[in-house]
């Protein structure tokens, strides 16, 4: 059964009914990310009636919209004012065999998505200023504000970002918006090993060139992305006013030195390349294969990638200067490679999320790193504080939460 509340009183009633009867709800916007996280059994709570931009003031750098508003609608409005969501929200829909361009703003925030500009602009969490929501207790509450700088009360926006709908149903959200860069260029260093690629990204990011994207695509993947075939590609993005980008291309050449020359990609090729990196697009053609997303200290990525590739049949690429590693396995196997991938991530003091796997596997293998016992206990207590009867997306992140 699908519940489709028309307004906040409807939604309150739906959640209160579910709370009274301990009937779990699966919160669904466009449904593009239902494959992300552990499977949830329950009535679908369709929030697509909560749609529309409520206020947008470009000079104030804030936008308030209902949580079910399609992201595409928001981005179209921002473009008109020369602005954007600086965290570059990726579209994971195609990874799950969904058509692109359908996700909602609420879904992006609830999953705390972030694109290549994470390095300089942060993730969804860093742009999530305030919200109104209904908790699993069936209470309307709000937190944060509608201005860009605010420390009044706990920053519950951060807590809800990345909570995958397990704490509350977002109804209205306020986000920070920023000017879009005037132009973009990409420096492409061909044929580097992972270690050399890391060194190039590290040096570029430690230069004052304001690099706003740094990724390494090994040969196996570079062929499925524009623009190079058969050769690894290490790519560095520069954005800003044209005179600035031109000057920084020159200083990047100095920072990398004569032994690391690069080719330049213009705005069109750059845009295509970085949106494909943002969406992990090379893995969209194989929607049944397990896909991992690792968060790592950047310097560890080459070692982690080779550790995994030695033991499993895997394709991978690195973003965030090595801080994010995408790994796709050729076989689902017993555990989608969880033992190998998690051990490699943990040895590097990072962690791994199983972004894509069959429903059966996602029910058996922890999708999110379980963390320490102390952390797990805190997680349960936080869940209790918002949703004591565990009716909102129960089990989406962790069993029983």
């Amino acid at each position: 059964m699908t519940l489709r509340p028309r307004d906040v009183p409807d939604l309150l009633d739906a959640v209160r009914s579910a709370s009274d009867s301990r009937a779990p709800l699966e919160i669904v916007g466009a449904g593009t990310k239902r494959g992300l996280g552990r499977p949830v059994t329950g009535h679908a709570l369709d929030v697509t009636a909560f749609t529309g931009i409520e206020s947008y003031e470009p000079e104030e750098l804030v936008l308030t919209a209902r949580a079910g508003t399609p992201l595409a609608e928001i981005e179209a409005r921002l473009i008109q004012a020369g602005q954007q969501l600086a965290f570059e929200p990726p579209d994971y829909g195609p990874l799950y065999g969904q058509s692109r361009g359908r996700q909602t703003l609420g879904g992006v925030l609830a999953c705390n998505l972030a694109g290549p500009r994470r390095l300089t602009a942060g993730a969804a969490r860093d742009h999530f200023l305030g919200f109104a929501a209904v908790s699993g207790r069936g209470e309307c509450f709000k937190a944060g504000g509608r201005v860009v700088k605010n420390v009044t009360g706990y920053d519950l926006s951060k807590l809800l970002a990345g909570s995958h709908g397990t704490l509350a149903v977002l109804t209205e959200v306020t986000i920070k918006v920023l000017p879009a860069p005037e132009t973009v260029a990409t420096a492409l260093l061909p044929g580097l090993s992972s270690e050399a690629a890391f060194a190039a990204m590290r040096d570029a990011l430690a230069s004052p060139c304001d690099v706003s994207g740094a990724a390494h695509l090994p040969a196996a993947l570079a062929c499925s992305m524009p623009p190079r075939e058969g050769q690894a590609a290490t790519v560095l993005r520069l954005e800003g006013p044209p005179p600035s980008v031109d000057a920084r291309i020159a200083s990047l050449r100095t920072a990398l030195g004569p032994d690391r020359s690069f080719e330049l990609l213009g705005p069109g090729e750059s845009a295509a390349l970085w949106s494909s990196i943002r969406d992990a697009a090379p893995f969209a053609a194989t929607p049944t294969l397990p896909l991992w997303r690792l968060a790592l200290p950047p310097a560890a990525f080459a070692r982690v990638a080779s550790e995994i590739a030695e033991r499993l049949d895997a394709r991978w690429f690195a973003d965030w200067g090595g801080g994010r590693l995408w790994v796709e396995l050729a076989h689902e196997g017993e555990d989608a490679g969880a033992a190998v991938v998690r051990m490699a991530a943990q040895r590097a003091s990072g962690h791994a999320v199983l972004i894509r796997a069959s429903k059966d596997l996602r029910a058996r293998v922890p999708v999110f790193d379980p963390g320490t016992d102390a952390m797990a206990a805190l997680t349960r207590r936080l869940k209790d504080s918002f949703d004591p009867h565990r009716i909102l997306n129960p089990g989406r992140m962790y069993e029983g939460v």
Binding site: D10, D13, R16, S19, D20, S21, R22, E57, E59, E60, V62, Q83, R125, E139, F141, K142, A143, G145, R146, V147, V148, K149, N150, V151, T152, G153, Y154, D155, L156, K158, L159, A161, G162, L178, L205, A206, P208, D210, G240, P241, P243, S244, D246, A247, S251, A295, P297, R324, S349, F368, D369, T372, A374, M375, T379, L382, S385, P388, H389, M397
Partner: protein
């Protein structure tokens, strides 16, 4: 503040003895005279001598102290350098101060991963100093950065003049180690971005010492911008200065810093530091552009043009680094400068939607007449964070109370025009009783339930942030709604 617990006060010597067994040497201060050092923080209007001050030097000691306090039912107020402007570290008569000053070591500087691991008692500026030899720095720069500690910065989610472009504390930290009231040590995040599970890093930042005691922080470090230049822009009215700020942002420019001062603030600072500010203007903007030289030069020309279009009567670009620093010298000395023209001042910290600035300043002038107290304004114009300084004389009977009432009216005004009570100083005790102007009961109850998830006995920094304290058991109850619901056909189990 909550009424001191007589039973705790009565057990003072027993409590002190227990703590002395846990933290050896001079780590426990119980002498009333020595305790006066801790009686207030940067909000000096409030003073209380704590039960004792405990200065642990290891995580194991912090853990043992917290466990002991929980067992004995003793409240704990964590403290860094005590520079809070909202009374975040104000002691409780029946509680201990847990001073983290001995945690003053930088543990690891990792240029490959662009981060530093530091103990909470390290000062904000010391982090930047430690990485300056490689031209790196830690971005958030609160005015008190020479004294304030990184632990306190995390607790208050501190900002600074560059935060519109580079973010506040929460955007610049990667990992934390915290100790919960039961003594449990929890590590959150690390050297990677975006942690596992719920974003506890984001929740702890700005939690004002109510959730856990921070014992280690991993911060991001950034490469210093290649260059920085500042523009000094004078305007004949607050409106035209406000318009200029909006126009700069509408043109797609996010300056490294964009500060505004009103006429009283300009006069006070110019008299104090002789920065060369024009005295014939109503409002002054300092716009700093930083980044690659070509970008700075390009944007400087654009901002100058925008300023002239909006009626700027003074337009001066810093010619060299010395001049840039001189432009800033006045703004950075604004508080002490105001301290010279008035025996006391009360610094407020609301944020407003920027376009409401002229209306807010006008109303503030009316309130100034009403209360018979002067006010000078410095303003982080880029992000709408207002710092009105209410001028008063604490020695004149009733002036402090009037200054506080004036301040409260200003903050109510901020909320009324769509803003918030505090942009970077925190709620603390200062704005606690105004929380109801911004939040309803259900909002505050949900926040307090989060507190309960960390601190079920309410022993960590009670009396701050929340106007009314509820017991966790009471907050945890779930209503049964029954009857009159619109989805009565949900299957019942």
């Amino acid at each position: 503040m909550p009424k001191p617990d007589e039973s705790v006060l009565a057990r003072r010597s027993e409590i002190v003895a227990r703590l002395k067994a846990l933290v050896p040497g001079e780590g426990v201060i119980a002498d009333p005279d020595a305790l006066r050092v801790y009686e207030s923080d940067g909000l000096t209007a409030y003073r209380t001598v704590p039960l004792a001050a405990v200065l642990p030097s290891t995580v194991a000691e912090v853990s043992a102290v917290l466990r002991c306090c929980r067992e004995l039912g003793v409240k704990v107020v964590p403290r860094g350098a005590g520079t809070s402007l909202s009374g975040g570290a104000l002691p409780l008569a029946d509680g201990i101060i847990l001073g983290l000053g001995k945690f003053n070591r930088i543990l690891d500087i990792d240029f490959d991963n662009r981060c530093a691991v530091v103990q909470p008692g390290v000062t904000n500026l010391a982090i930047s100093d430690a990485v300056a030899h490689r031209d790196f720095y830690y971005a958030p720069d609160p005015s008190s950065q020479i004294a304030c500690t990184i632990g306190g910065n995390v607790a208050e989610n501190s900002g600074g003049v560059h935060c519109l472009k580079y973010g506040v504390t929460t955007n610049n930290i990667l990992g934390l180690e915290i100790v919960l009231t039961d003594g449990e040590v929890v590590r959150i995040g690390g050297k990677h971005m975006d942690g596992e599970g719920y974003d506890l890093l984001g929740l702890l930042a700005g939690s004002e010492g109510l959730l856990g005691v921070i014992t280690e922080v991993t911060v991001r470090i950034l490469k210093k911008p290649a260059t920085a230049r500042a523009l000094l822009l004078g305007f004949p009215s607050n409106e035209s200065a406000g318009d200029c700020v909006a126009a700069v942002i509408a043109a797609g420019i996010i300056p490294g810093g964009m500060e505004m001062m009103d006429r009283p603030a300009i006069a006070a600072t110019e008299a104090f530091v002789h920065a060369g500010y024009p005295l014939d203007v109503e409002a002054l903007l300092i716009v700093e552009l930083d980044g690659p030289e070509a970008e700075v030069d390009h944007l400087l020309v654009r901002v100058e043009a925008i300023a002239r279009e909006r009626g700027a009567t003074t337009v001066r670009a810093s010619a060299d680094e010395a001049e840039r620093l001189r432009f800033w010298a006045g703004r950075k000395a604004a508080f002490p400068a105001v301290g010279r023209i008035s025996p006391d001042y009360y610094c407020m910290d609301g944020t407003i939607p920027r376009k409401r600035l002229p209306a807010v300043l006008k109303r503030m002038a009316e309130l100034s007449l009403h209360y018979g107290l002067g006010v000078a304004n410095v303003f982080h114009a880029g992000d709408g964070n207002l710092h009105p300084l209410v001028l008063y004389d604490a020695n004149k009977p009733g002036e402090l109370e009037r200054a506080e009432a004036f301040g409260s009216d200003i903050l109510r005004l901020c909320v009324e025009v769509g803003g918030v009570l505090t942009g970077e100083h925190g709620v603390g005790v200062e704005k606690r009783d105004l929380m109801g102007t911004m939040f309803g009961e259900e909002d505050l109850n949900q926040q307090q339930r989060v507190k309960c998830a960390f601190d079920p006995d309410g022993l960590l920094n009670p009396g701050k942030v929340f106007p009314t304290l509820h017991r966790c058991a009471e907050l945890g109850r779930v209503h049964i709604h029954g009857g009159r619901l619109r989805f009565p056909d949900l299957p019942r189990f």
